[in-house]
């Protein structure tokens, strides 16, 4: 599987996390596993955990502890009402951006250099 550009990933990480948690609550490592399974193998805990924390600090996520029979209680994240609004905004921005990028990149042969210019 091709590696994604790190800077591009950083830009859409919040959108990915909000989208995942809009469908199902999860704890840090389970979210990393779901992202990897969805086609983002380069996303490790070191990237995902601070992003989750920042989304929680911004009020887009909230956390709660769930006791586990086999181990310690895990910290689960769920999306908040403002998080859903943020997800809608980010999704709209993403579609606008991808449409604009597609408009340019779908006709690469049109982007030729001007002819007849001499030094």
């Amino acid at each position: 599987m091709a590696q994604h550009d790190a800077q591009m990933l950083k830009g859409v990480l919040a959108l990915l996390l909000l989208s995942l948690l809009a469908t199902e609550d999860g704890y840090g490592y389970s979210i990393v596993t779901r992202l990897k399974a969805a086609g983002f193998p380069e996303l490790a805990e070191g990237t995902v955990y601070p992003a989750l924390t920042r989304l929680e600090n911004a009020g887009h996520l909230e956390s709660y502890l769930v006791r586990s029979g086999s181990g310690p209680a895990r910290k689960y994240y769920r999306i908040t009402a403002t998080g859903r609004q943020e997800l809608a905004d980010r999704t709209r921005s993403w579609h606008e951006l991808s449409t604009a990028v597609a408009t340019i990149t779908s006709h690469p042969s049109d982007t030729t250099t001007p002819q007849g210019v001499s030094a």
């Binding site: 490592y29 070191g46 910290k75």
Partner: protein
């Protein structure tokens, strides 16, 4: 899990706790985050080993900084203590060294039968040492005033670094931020 893996994991957890404490994350949340890190590392180690899990977990300092963002207005007691302890240790060393040098000086001077005060020859941040050598060198008594500087200077450093006034100013700025 092997003993070495447990040591590696606990070393990472303690380092993480240090950075959380350093950045002002309160104790109750630190306990939750330590437990979460431990559980996450154990689960990741089950798939690729503890070394890989520790590599994937990335910068724990950055994670601690993210956790501390809501607490940027809290006093930093731990940082204050880290700054004050070396100051106290340096002053204590200086005070002990000064007192020993003073007593050695009095003995070497050969003055006997009267009390010698340090304020004339060795003023040391307001503390006065006294020494009396009995005639014939039969006895030596030594005394000292209370070394206030030993307590006041480290306390001053502690307060300046910990910034306890953030308890008041932080509450005010949070209230103002909440009103907007």
């Amino acid at each position: 899990m092997s003993t070495f893996d447990t040591i590696r994991r606990e070393s990472a957890v303690q380092g993480f706790d240090f950075w959380m404490d350093y950045h002002g994350v309160p104790g109750r949340q630190r306990r939750v985050e330590r437990r979460e890190l431990r559980a996450g590392l154990d689960e990741a180690a089950g798939h690729g080993g503890m070394r890989q899990a520790l590599r994937d977990v990335g910068s724990l300092r950055e994670r601690a900084e993210a956790l501390a963002e809501p607490y940027s207005h809290r006093p930093r007691w731990a940082v204050g203590a880290f700054a004050a302890v070396p100051v106290f240790a340096a002053l204590l060393y200086g005070w002990l060294f000064s007192s020993i040098a003073f007593v050695e000086g009095v003995v070497a001077s050969g003055v006997t039968g009267r009390e010698v005060r340090s304020s004339d020859v060795l003023p040391w941040l307001g503390t006065e040492f006294t020494a009396t050598v009995e005639p014939g060198g039969g006895g030596l008594s030594v005394g000292s005033g209370l070394p206030w500087a030993l307590l006041v200077l480290p306390l001053l450093v502690f307060l300046l670094v910990a910034r306890p006034w953030r308890l008041v100013t932080g509450r005010g700025s949070r209230a103002a931020a909440g009103a907007h």
